[in-house]
Amino acid sequence: MSLLNIVLFLPLVGFLLLIFTPKGNDQLPRMLALGISLLVFVISLGLIGPFMGSTIPEGYQFITDSPWINSPPIRYHVGLDGLSLWLVLLTTLLTPIAVLVSWKSIGHRVKEFFAFLILLEFGLIGVFVSLDLFLFYVFWEVGLVPMYFLIGIWGHDRRIYAAVKFFLYTMAGSVLMLAGIIYLYNRAGTFDYVQILGQLQSGRLVLSSQAEMLLFSAFFLAFAIKVPLFPLHTWLPDAHVEAPTAGSIMLASVMLKMGTYGLVRYSVPLFPNAAHKAAPFIIGLAVIGIVYGALVALVQPNMKKLVAYSSVSHLGFVVLGVFSFTQQGLDGAVYQMLNHGISTGALFMLVGFLYERRHSLEISAYGGVATPAPNLAIVFLITTLASVGLPMLNNFVGEYLVLQGASQVNFTATVFAAVGVILSACYMLWLYQRTFYGKASESLSHHMPDLSAREWAVSLPLLLLMFWMGIYTQTFMPPISAQNARILQQYQQQQNRPQLAVTPDRNFSASEVANAR
């Protein structure tokens, strides 16, 4: 049994254990969830091993490939590469953090809450390691259900509306993706991603350009809703505002990455020509999302909505990087997925801390928090600075690489995207000023204790990673870079296939070709 299977199925075991814990004892499920999620995290560290050598191994590691359902032939095929490695680790890191964050704030139906949280981890890891399209789809939906309940049961006032909106939006996209998956199965005779990709690349399976575009669109819609890409983003602010803190953390940090991961893993390699054709359009949407998300974030009176719209802006960078089809763009995009997971996860966590103290998400209910809670103010400040892309913190590296890559392809888009960087400073600093600076009111000071030991314990790992990923990128980047180089290489080969007569509607500069090597 490979390490990856243990990491994947341990949360499922945990879920079952949690379900069968006796009612009435709230402490037991907490401890159990924490124990399991920590254990999963520790074990998952072992996954890094093969990727840390001086040469990054080619292809997938920790492969398990065995039949699951005989007819139609659906396989349990999982594996890990430089793209999925860090996303799995992000999931396993954030789950115990989400458990600890919910330690006190979840007071009713405690057992179920932690059960769903751990089930969510199972679904999310599954999405990132599946190499069979049907398996991927199953995990994609498995992740949806616990999140639906996390919002719908433990959310705030309008939780039902938000949960249903979240569910329907995502379902609308994933149904189309399922249709695409079934079509691919019919053509290729297998759901196995590696085999389908091999058939496409060797020319044994040729998609007409129309079919390719339709398939691309079906997959893309599912992913774009999940990212979310403008204008498919309106479920996100509602979902975040209504979700409990742990739900927001998992949603922003990991779940949105399902979309961007799907773009890199499936959309670009499977349908390179369609991706190439659609790229200018998608880049346009990404850039609109960057600026639009930032502008709308600027005027939000609600903290969680503000952070949610900032996510729309930040994830626009990821999409921009992917569809630049340059080494820097892709590297930056994948790095930015992780960065966003760390810094926005931390932001939602900190907003949750504020909410637990003051029971309001309205920015106007705050002001002067820095005086009674200086440590909270410092942690929030560092996270804010990470979020606005200050160098030596993580987001800078991702944003820089994305913009550097995009500038080689579409300088105009880069200029507009860079405006988003200015705006991020505006909305985050304004938020910070209105929340932490000024004189604290009497009632606020009384209900604003500084960080507790438990809150420190969940903040410190994230702070550490913000600096680590900002300063010593060499720990994380080589596996990502190696995998992206392979994706790009395959992409270029597809582009150069003569029988597919690609219209040269975009000029590739020599430097870009050089980068791809």
Partner: protein, 640 residues
């Protein structure tokens, strides 16, 4: 290896100690850590430079940059960005200024901040600033320079908003950060273009390649790079149209104004342009823009300085104006003259601010010139040192400002005579408003006696309302040192030292008179100030009444802030709120989504009949559905 990394890392260590444990440390310990770390850094600079032979005075010293590589920061495809530090002649000058002046101001701050809350926080930020500023000048590639660049901006933000209970202070901090971000926007675009065209961001590689390229006669990408770099410089160094943050930045404690907003950080833009001189020399159009923007800034900021009533604001506009001078020098092709002025300006402007701080300290927090007066006999040391600084900035020989300003104006004359003349008028105005402030503070009636001086207490010097008093030794010793530097600093021949990097500007024969004219302008400015504010104090009011419209414009700083608010800030915020959020997001997109939802519910109303609530009928539906799916799959599969 000369362990260059120690130079910035020492202040960073100071920051870490005071930042993490400062709340529990005694003041003397905080002082020792904060001042000690910067002094050690200064000593390490001295040691390193002397080991490199800088003080030996050899011709060939540091003709090639000395570089150290530590580790790879970012590696993606062919792009490799290392954490590399380098010293060349330009960096050597900047290192001396930053650590030297930085040490003096840290010492001064010990006295100045003695009665302030958040003491450890202040010194932690100040040390962090030193770290970033030293990274900025030591970094051997554009991205590392950018690290320092953004980092000093952060510290500036934190220190402007140091009194964070006050809204005007945090507003000013936000403004500084955001306006700088606009500049950084240009800088980062320049970085993208550089990496794109040269495949590298290392100074050595990029400038080496630029050298072999033809000079761009019409605007091309080299000009674009140069202009975008200059946008960055205009943000950091407060040039038109991005200067608006600097006057507001005076909300920070005065040592901050001296160190960050006068002597070091705001000259980072000048440093960056000088560092990229090779690019600018290959883009003449851009160079001309630098000169014109610099000159315009110098002139307009000087006019705004004429009517300010807050002593720090006077010096703030003077800083903007002097930075304009530096860019005039750079734009005229006299890069070394610009850097020369960076140095002398660091001496006398740091002194002006520290002196102003001493005055404010003496007045228990009062900053309004209208409530000062007659301080000469109460604060003799401050009086004498501020006199040195004022004469120096007025460009009177042999004081330091004269040498560097002369070098800039000579270059400007050669570049375009009209620029020289505007520069001369500006020099006259500079002398006038600096001495206006000087006379208003130290001479005449002691206006504080009747006014009572406890209004503007954001300094919160809560110790008594007695007579003004001279500052403690930790404050006046730095003043004295800076006074000496302001006097003799002009004899450090920076242009000669930088000659291997920037060709020396030969003064054209027959233009010696330009020196006399500019000195005369300074003298006239001082004389007018004396006439207006010492001899017959009625004149300024009369003039203000006669020229009421221009006076109102100048007094209100040409309404530029109001203009920006009306043109950029308010439309952005209002448009985002009422159009993007409420109409596009909530109205259009969500409206459509909810519309689909409603339709679906209507359809669902029909389908509801299938939901009979009986398990058996559900099971039937599930079976039926499965059959349809499987049939569809096998039919489609059969067609393969």
């Amino acid at each position: 290896m000369h362990q260059l990394w120690l130079i910035p890392l020492l202040p960073l260590a100071g920051f870490a100690i005071n930042g993490l444990f400062g709340r529990r440390l005694a003041k003397p310990v905080i002082n020792a850590v904060a001042v000690g770390s910067v002094l050690l850094s200064f000593l390490w600079v001295l040691k390193t430079l002397s080991a490199l032979g800088v003080f030996g005075g050899g011709e060939s010293v540091l003709e090639q940059a000395y570089q150290e590589h530590y580790f790879t920061w970012i590696q993606s495809g062919s792009l490799n960005i290392g954490v590399d530090f380098a010293i060349d002649r330009l960096t050597a000058v900047m290192l001396m200024i930053v650590t030297g002046i930085g040490s003096l101001i840290h010492i001064y701050a010990v006295g100045y901040m003695a009665h302030e809350g958040g003491y450890y926080r202040f010194f932690a930020y100040l040390n962090l600033f030193m770290f970033f500023m030293l990274t900025l000048v030591l970094g051997a590639n554009f991205l590392l320079l950018f690290v320092g660049w953004e980092g000093v901006g952060l510290c500036s933000y934190l220190l402007i908003g140091f009194y964070f209970l006050e809204k005007f202070a945090t507003d000013a901090g936000n403004k500084a950060f955001i306006v700088n971000r606009i500049g950084d926007f240009g800088f980062s675009l320049a970085v993208f273009l550089i990496a794109m065209h040269f495949g590298s961001l290392d100074f050595g590689t990029v400038f080496g390649k630029v050298k072999d390229m033809p000079v761009e006669s019409s605007a091309g990408w080299m000009t674009a790079i140069a202009l975008l770099l200059f946008v960055g410089a205009a943000g950091k160094s407060a040039q038109i149209p991005l200067y608006v943050w600097l006057p507001d930045a005076m909300a920070g404690p005065t040592p901050v104004s001296a160190l960050i907003h006068a002597a070091t950080m705001v000259t980072a833009g000048v440093y960056m342009v000088a560092r990229s001189s090779e690019i600018f020399l290959h883009a003449h159009g851009a160079l001309e823009v630098v000169a014109i923007v610099g000159l315009a800034t110098a002139f307009f900021a000087a006019t705004m300085g004429l009517a300010q009533t807050d002593i720090k604001k006077v010096y703030a506009y003077s800083t903007v104006s002097q930075l304009g001078y530096m860019f005039l020098g750079l734009g005229s092709g006299a890069f070394s003259a610009g850097i020369f002025h960076v140095m002398t300006h660091a001496f006398f402007k740091a002194l002006l601010f520290l002196g102003a701080g001493s005055v404010i300290h003496a007045m228990s927090g009062e900053q309004d010139l209208g409530k000062m007066g007659g301080l000469k006999k109460y604060t003799p040391i401050t009086f004498a040192t501020l006199l040195c600084a004022s004469v120096a900035i007025a460009g009177i020989p042999p004081f330091s400002g004269y040498h560097s300003k002369d070098a800039i104006l000579a270059a400007a004359y050669e570049f375009a005579p009209w620029m020289y003349w505007v520069g001369v008028v500006t020099a006259g105005m500079t002398a006038f408003y600096v001495f206006r402030a000087f006379f208003l503070a130290f001479f005449g009636e002691p206006r504080w006696k009747k006014a009572g001086h406890d209004k503007h207490e954001h300094g919160k010097h809560g110790h008594g309302h007695g007579e003004p008093h001279e500052s403690p030794a930790s404050m006046w010793i730095p003043l004295a040192v800076l006074a000496i530097l302001s006097l003799v600093g002009g004899y450090i021949n920076i242009p000669k030292w930088l000659e291997p990097m920037f060709k020396l500007h030969e003064e054209a024969p027959g233009t010696e008179w330009t020196v006399y004219v500019s000195v005369a302008a300074g003298v006239i400015g001082i004389a007018l100030a004396a006439l207006f504010y010492l001899v017959s104090p009625g004149i300024p009011e009369g003039l203000a009444r006669t020229f009421s419209t221009p006076y109102r414009w100048i007094y209100n700083k040409y309404f530029v802030d109001e203009f920006y608010d009306a043109l950029v800030v308010n439309p952005t915020v209002d448009g985002s709120r009422s159009l993007l959020w409420r109409v596009v997001d909530a109205g259009c997109i969500d409206g459509a989504v909810n519309g689909v939802g409603k339709t679906a519910r209507a359809v669902g109303g029909i389908l509801k009949r299938m939901q009979s609530g009986s398990i058996r009928s559900y099971a039937a539906w599930v079976v039926l559905g499965s059959i349809i799916v499987i049939t569809a799959m096998s039919m489609a599969g059969g067609g393969k």
